[in-house]
Symmetry: C3
Subunit: 267 residues, 3 copies
């Protein structure tokens, strides 16, 4: 099956099965990631209380951990939810927002990767580099400079951490340490809207919920999301109308319009 | 007076009196419910600190409690605010998001209903069933399957809990245990946007602030909100543009355009 | 240089330098203020954990403190971040949301102004009056009635607190206790959207990051933001489409379209 068709089939599967995606995420993107999850056809639930995270995660098909506005209490909830997910065989997708920017974030991200079995790790280049123990210089929550090319970075950190790694940027890279896929879908305006990386993580989680192979799920999700961004970018001239159009496009992107636009390369 | 006119009169009253609506609500919908409250003509305030919730509620005309992303600290704030509201005779509208999904949520919702005098309870069918002690199977924060028809459910739980109960769905039901109203306004796209139920609760609170009869206030609010959704659905093709159009329609819906579209039935 | 040109030059400087703006802000506006910060060309970061706020603020060019949904834990984070900013010479912009509404808010705001060196204070008339120890009657988080004209209020409180004070309203006033500027840009629809005041504060912070004179930075920021609102108001008919258009306009407002629309008066 060609990549275009594979993406289309997975997207239909998300719509059909409507998997519940449990998020422990940050205060900036709570609403937009819930809406993105709905737009792609999955069902979001946000739950943070230590009293219920383990129960909620067991109802879910995938767990998203996102440390964008991390607090100590949230770290506890993430550990509880992550362990419950690991025990129940529910995949964990981790978004280490801002790793590399402050010691607290870098150390927390490293601790979560050590303590939990992460199924997919998604970040920008400097966040992933920080987790891989490479020199990184994350600027707040935006990517800083790193010296290793993003594709190599994805493969190296995936091998080191024994997980699927996604490095997003102008081109996205997905690797499990052996295979390496590049996704060329996307649009420059994504950088002008907050939470578009976090939203990509939610789409990855939705696809991962219906597809066991993390590399396939990750690349398919990013192609679908990136293509929706291309459609949105073609009809808007500013970041807020772009965001509205992005969600609309994601909701409506099916069939041949989806499959024919997918740009995934195997490296 | 016919229902269409009643809804129109109440909506004008909200615009005129601009009642302050105190929300203790969840992290997913904080922004959108504030904007919906403004769009319908009321004034939202979100305040959570135990140090001030009682003071803030006394400045308000209605208190909304919404447990979408409940934490233990928030439960304390809800109790403090709810008791202050009860003492001051300020109506409390309760949205038991996700009751039935985890024991923590179900038990907290039941405790709040027991400890506080709730004026209006608004939820989807499985949330209301969970509060009524019926078998429910809430799926994250979405309605699960229940066996009793929604109208009967509203009346039964209203009678049991001695409060006005609103069960929202394709048709909304409002009952005080005796009277039962059905509201047929609404649009399928509401299910594709997060927080539309929570937003309905805010509109109910705004109407309740200017109308003492909870059944009338509840049905009128849902008709107004549902009609705005119909207008939005008629001009949009995706969930994000729908949400934008919904708020715009709610803001602009007055006079004959409002009164002529109201679909309320007395059962 | 004329004001129109000055605003244009500062706006270009924001775009060029892309200053990182650290926010400790409220739950209602986290997303929208991040997007407004991006739209004007700066880079937002939201970080709250006591473990990292001092580290994060040292990476930033300006710190925004906004107490819209204040909790005791957040007050601690604000003090830590504020002190680190003061030590490092990073300007602090303070938005005392709801000061005057409850004793907790008024006292916290007064304490922060006492303990920290605030560079710019931005609020509506009753919030600023509450901080100036004048009789104020803040209605939730909306402006209540005060007896002193807003321009005089700005100058008086600026003198008393030895800081730049911005009082926003139909006309905005900016003063350092001596100079007094009035900004006539803006649009009535700003009052129908939540967080437009908080967003103005973010724009002020972005301009202040690239301009040492707080009066100039404040007036320029408000003119730019208000002019974007005028453009948005001209093409929309409701609050949600207005908000979308406002961010788009802010993103695109440059050159002659910006400079020719600026309405700043020196009083």
């Amino acid at each position: 099956m060609k990549w275009g068709e594979r993406v289309m089939v997975l997207r239909e599967k998300v719509l059909e099965e409507r998997p519940l995606i449990h998020h422990i995420t940050n205060l900036v993107v709570t609403n937009i990631t819930a809406n993105v999850t709905l737009a792609v056809g999955a069902s979001p639930v946000m739950a943070y209380a230590p009293e219920e995270v383990a129960d909620m995660v067991r109802l879910s098909r995938c767990l998203v951990l996102n440390m964008g506005t991390l607090t100590a209490g949230e770290v506890d909830a993430m550990l509880l939810a992550g362990r419950a997910a690991n025990e129940a065989g529910i995949p964990v997708v981790f978004d280490p927002v801002g790793a590399g920017a402050t010691p607290f974030r870098t150390e927390t991200a490293q601790m979560l990767v050590r303590e939990l079995q992460i199924d997919i790790l998604r970040g920008n280049a400097s966040e992933i580099a920080a987790l891989g123990g490479l020199h990184a210089n994350t600027r707040g929550v935006d990517a800083g400079e790193i010296t290793i090319p993003a594709g190599q970075l994805a493969r190296k950190v995936a091998r080191d951490l024994k997980t699927v790694v996604i490095v997003t940027g102008a081109t996205d890279y997905v690797s499990d340490g052996e295979r390496l896929l590049a996704v060329d879908n996307g649009h420059a305006m994504l950088a002008a809207v907050t939470g578009t990386g976090c939203s990509a993580t939610s789409v990855v989680a939705a696809f991962r919920a219906v597809e066991d192979d993390g590399v396939t799920a990750g690349a398919a999700a990013l192609a679908c999301y990136g293509l929706a961004a291309e459609h949105a970018g073609a009809v808007t001239r500013g970041p807020a109308s772009f965001q509205v159009a992005l969600l609309d496009a994601l909701y409506n992107l099916r069939g041949e319009r989806l499959s024919s636009g997918v740009k995934i390369r195997e490296l």
